[in-house]
């Protein structure tokens, strides 16, 4: 095979793309369509709670166009990190949408569903064997962390996709996955150099993000050849330049030249970027260096507690000029009142009060270099995190009342210090989660962490009829 063509409809399934761009790309006869469906970027709550970051209807709109397009030209559709976090509940949520669209459109195909959620027993076994290693920086990881985790997923490489393709899958929906692996898998299977395939994947996984000026999420297209790839956005109004493509390897990567995957490292040190038109860029010279050991990165989330939030503002310049002291006193009074209410039933370690002062250092906290307050008003965001929602809400009630009437020496008499825009003044946020692992597993092989189910959707005979037609 001399050339392989690849279409990435958008950076995340559910974020949207222009159907017109997608149709233009289909006319270029891609050999497959790939799309990323998730990230850790929306935060730990999606992994912990099972809730996807993009709405179901938005995901269904994007997915319908992709599925119809892929089946129309009869090429594989590969989707990774389904439902944002790629755990089993996310994968089921996504596959449910696949089934629904297939039924509505009368589609028939073989679906591969690749799981990425990790069994706690498996992780404990690998941990005891010393085959779970920390990345930098990493939180403490032990059997207790595994027990407490709501969900831990492994980030799969290209191999589980390759195996599903060899098994005849038309559509692959995978749990948590390297975004790049979605796109590198088929070109590597067909014998294209790994440096070319993985670098192409790195550019395409973000859809049109690597163009000079992206106005809305949209499609990206690549031609992979023996010693280079060419990338171009199907929408003629979007331009790739050598600089825009080179710059893309900076985005969300700690190291712009070395991108670590399960099977090795994509090395962009000697990559060359050349314009082949005013809209397309040729990339060559990228290398892929195989790792001595195959590793799978873990992502996990655990429940921290339940949270209630009070949002209020302060306009009085007397309070603003002593805000640090005022807030310190407020915290003291909250703890005293909580002790009065709960006594021995709640120790200070069981709940957490966090007071953010917007207008002072809300965004950067202690790292804020501007020490002087230049604003005539401040916004306080005060969070109470506790073992149950009921306790968190109760503490938020305490926060409200203590903050309202905390005195300052400049005024005599009862003051009302906090302006509360909402009634009730607190917002219940439900369960809150944190990321609890930044480690890799050394599995025996690339597949053991990623079991695959195959499902025939519609009727196989319909598929044959279509192939015959």
């Amino acid at each position: 095979m001399e050339e392989m063509r690849i279409l990435s409809p958008t950076g995340v399934c559910g974020s949207g793309f222009l159907e017109e761009s997608f149709e233009k790309a289909l006319a270029k006869k891609p050999h497959f369509i790939g799309c990323d469906g998730g990230s850790t970027d929306p935060g730990p709550s999606h992994l912990g709670s099972g809730q996807p970051a993009f709405p179901r209807e938005a995901t269904k709109r994007d997915l319908r166009i992709m599925l119809l397009g892929a089946r129309r030209i009869d090429v594989p559709l590969l989707i990774g990190s389904a439902g944002t976090a790629g755990g089993d509940v996310h994968l089921d949520w996504f596959c449910d949408i696949v089934h629904e669209i297939a039924a509505e459109e009368g589609l028939s195909f073989k679906l591969a569903k690749i799981h990425a959620e990790q069994k706690h027993d498996y992780l404990k076994k690998r941990l005891r064997e010393g085959r779970i290693k920390p990345l930098q920086p990493a939180p403490e990881f032990n059997e207790g962390v595994i027990d407490r985790a709501s969900c831990i997923v492994g980030m799969m490489g290209a191999e589980p996709y390759m195996r599903a393709l060899e098994a005849g899958a038309d559509v692959i929906v995978a749990g948590r996955s390297s975004d790049t692996a979605i796109f590198a898998s088929i070109p590597v299977m067909r014998g294209f150099p790994e440096g070319v395939a993985w670098h192409m994947g790195k550019i395409l996984e973000c859809g049109a993000a690597a163009v000079v000026s992206r106005k809305t999420p949209d499609c990206m297209f690549a031609w992979v050849r023996k010693d280079h790839f060419v990338v171009e956005a199907p929408d003629e109004r979007l331009r790739c330049t050598p600089q825009s493509i080179a710059s893309h390897s900076l985005y969300e990567n700690a190291d712009p030249y070395k991108l670590v995957e399960c099977s090795g490292t994509l090395d962009l040190t000697d990559s060359r970027y050349e314009a082949v038109s005013d809209r397309a860029v040729k990339v060559s010279g990228s290398a892929f260096i195989h790792a001595p050991r195959y590793t799978v990165k873990l992502e996990g989330a655990e429940k921290v507690g339940y949270q209630s939030v009070i949002i209020g503002s302060v306009r009085d310049p007397f309070i603003i000029r002593q805000i640090d002291n005022w807030v310190e006193q407020l915290e003291g009074r909250i703890h005293a009142r909580v002790k009065q209410i709960y006594g021995e039933r709640m120790s200070p370690e069981q709940y957490f009060i966090n007071i953010r002062i917007y207008g002072k250092n809300g965004t950067m906290g202690p790292l804020e270099p501007v020490k002087e307050i230049r604003s005539h008003e401040l916004c306080l965001v005060i969070e109470a995190t506790a073992p149950t929602q009921d306790i968190a809400s109760s503490i938020a009630g305490v926060v409200r009342h203590q903050a309202l009437h905390l005195p300052i020496p400049e005024w005599s008499g009862l003051i009302t210090a906090l302006a509360c825009p909402y009634n009730p003044a607190h917002l219940d946020r439900g369960a809150v989660y944190r990321f609890n692992v930044n480690h890799v597993v050394e599995p025996d092989d690339p597949y053991e962490m990623f079991p695959t189910e195959y499902v025939q959707i519609g009727t196989a005979s319909k598929q044959r009829q279509r192939a015959a037609a």
Binding site: N253, A254, P256, M364, T385
Partner: protein, 102 residues
Amino acid sequence: MTMLANLARLIRSKNAGPFELTFDIMFDDAAKYRRVKESGVLTRERIAACYGLEPSQVKFFLCDNALAVKASIPRPCFQGDLRDADGHGGQQYAPLMDIEVP
């Protein structure tokens, strides 16, 4: 002297996963990039000082083909932790804007 914000086409910060924060300082022409690179004001040490770190904790890159300077640091709070105020890490670059470039 000019502020870095007046020379760069984009200064940004972003999560590089939940545990690291990365900064990109990007230029739209080679002359501006060279001016900043050769001025020596943008260094691993300078980034470390801005974010209260040791220079050894900062990954620092001069990316000639992208006309960009890049630095990555351990996240001040892990993404989504109770004290984290910037889930996407997108608003942590402001102190870099004021760096004076000769």
